[in-house]
């Protein structure tokens, strides 16, 4: 009764112990990315071409940026994730948590073809590289809203009473959006009280905590105007819903999905190759076509139909995006969340 079990355990242990030592090139690497259409796009645009070129399989570890960061913190001693996608904001926290390794330009030659804005450095280490921008712009129901909105202030118009949605601080865009509004209204980050006063006057249908909740609200007609990510808004429009997305005259707040090399990974070479693959014009162009992520790689050409759906809108470019300093946002985070709870999320 006992002997076969012991034998099986011993055999299993032997396999586990010897397997990594045998392979020079690992059979697979583990990459953390997001769920849904994001994960599908990362697989199709980066992982599959990578496997085709190198023969290394890619195992997906699906989770949101924050979940991935917690996993990396817990696995610090012996990471099982080799490469991780995390959004701007969480990326800076990952740097502070010391779970990211330097991206070496020799191992990742395509860093040279990447926009300088998308290479994130702390001192002499490159801790992250952007693989595409997305923005939070004005989204509206083209049937219910006759004239396309042009300004964020249009959300306060009486005709949109009880049919507006903007992100809540539970959403990753929530805290930066408060600071973005403060900035376009001429406020200072130190004094957000006037901004909160004005948000309190907004007759909102709901404050969305997830991108899915926003999509749902526009789809059901609960919200007919408000903020949404270009990725989610155009996805709705592509499905045939009467949804429009514009970058207002004040601009749109934007951030990006970044790749990180996990510190202490035993498969560093393969991981670097994977990141290099993500920075090819083909991969970047593919992500733009599938998710409307604004390419972070130089000289990527996309179809005109795709170009107008990129985060900077029809006329902008990466230079017109309002990309904030996340380190500053992270220091103000707890105060903004607290003020929001007391001022807005309460009757």
């Amino acid at each position: 009764m006992n002997r076969p079990v012991r034998l099986a355990t011993a055999m299993l242990a032997t396999t586990l112990l010897t397997a990594p030592a045998l392979a020079q090139q690992p059979a697979s690497i583990t990459v953390a990315w997001y769920g849904g259409n994001w994960g599908d796009a990362f697989r199709a645009c980066v992982a599959e071409p990578f496997t085709k070129a190198t023969g290394i399989a890619v195992k997906a570890e699906i989770g949101t940026s924050t979940v991935t960061l917690s996993k990396l913190q817990q696995q610090k001693a012996a990471p099982t994730i080799d490469v991780a996608w995390m959004d701007g904001g969480i990326s800076e926290l990952a740097l502070a948590a010391e779970v990211t390794d330097n991206l070496d330009a020799a191992a990742i030659p395509n860093l040279a073809n990447t926009l300088p804005e998308a290479i994130y450095k702390s001192g002499s280490t490159t801790y992250a590289v952007g693989t595409g921008y997305y923005s939070l712009g004005l989204t509206y129901n083209t049937q219910k809203v006759k004239t396309a909105p042009t300004s964020w202030n249009d959300l306060w118009k009486p005709e949109f009473e009880d049919a507006v949605t903007i992100p809540s601080p539970a959403n990753s865009a929530g805290v930066p959006f408060v600071m973005f509004l403060s900035k376009i209204w001429g406020g200072t980050p130190g004094d957000l009280a006037p901004t909160f006063k004005k948000i309190k006057e907004l007759k909102a249908a709901l404050f969305f905590d997830s991108s899915g909740a926003a999509t749902n609200a526009y789809q059901s007609g609960e919200a007919i105007i408000g903020a949404h990510f270009n990725v989610g808004a155009w996805d709705l429009a592509d499905k045939g819903l009467p949804i429009g997305f514009v970058v207002p005259k004040e601009g749109a707040w934007a951030t990006d999905a970044r790749l990180h090399l996990v510190k202490g990974t035993p498969k560093k070479d393969a991981a670097a190759k994977f990141i290099n693959q993500a920075l090819t014009p083909e991969a970047s162009g593919c992500l733009a076509e599938k998710l409307y992520l604004g390419p972070s790689v130089k000289n990527v050409v996309v179809k005109p139909e795709t170009a107008r759906k990129l985060p900077w809108g029809e006329t902008g470019s990466v230079k017109t995006l309002q990309v904030f300093d996340w380190t500053e946002i992270n220091t103000l985070r707890s105060g903004v969340v607290d003020a929001w709870n007391r001022e807005i999320a309460r009757k």
């Binding site: 990753s172 059901s220 969340v337």
Partner: protein, 277 residues
Amino acid sequence: MSGRLRTVLLLCALPAAFFVAFFLAPMAVVLIASLTTPDGHLTFAHYLRILADSYHWDVLWVTFRLGALTTLVSVLIGYPLAWYLVRVVRWRPWRRFCVILLIVPLFTSNIVRSFGWMVLLGRNGLVNDSLIGLGLIERPMRFLGTELGILIGLVYILLPFIVLAVGNALAKVDPALEHAAADLGATPAGTFWTITFPLSLPGLMSGAVMVFMLAVSAYVTPALLSGGRITVFSMLIFQQYSSVFDFNYGGALSITMLVLTLVLVTLAGRLSEPRRA
């Protein structure tokens, strides 16, 4: 003898290890975080920050009020439903079908079902359309972002727990006791209140406690149906862990909620304990 003891120990070791690894250890991590500063010194500052601030008490009041209302409504709907299933339905296939109907939603995630309610309760949703169609209201009523909306969602999700617990208790009541009461001249209502109801009370209580605990700790349903306009305590905890990353303060919020819920449930248990002669 020692061989048998070893088998027993081995059999117990697995669940015990599971309990320690997946319940006690995480709980200890949260508790320790709640009592320390980020650099590891002992402090009660997080608890002081919670308990000395009336804002937190406001949110706790909303949370426990919603929990109590959810329990009350679930009991009022669930008890008759259980009665119907156990006592009224005679045709077995129909009873089985009703039970399946009751349980099937439990196989779908809360998120999907709450999204469903967002669509149903929306301004252009089925509920408002029907109410307007029937001429009961003129303008769409606001459900999303109100406590009523959250209550509807929570009752829908937690109702099966009451029905199953009460149904189980009712099925176990010995019909001979009720016949005896009727023989001795008790009216049907008298029989119910003196015999059947007290005997089903343990089932009702366990169902009610389950519903209350699940309602006050619910996150997904209130988060989606509140539209970010009402805050319940679990949302404050989620914010600290997922968006502010203050695990110490978040831990203290979690422990506060846990302790208060346990106190309330214990009190309720004491009050409703059947008096023994």
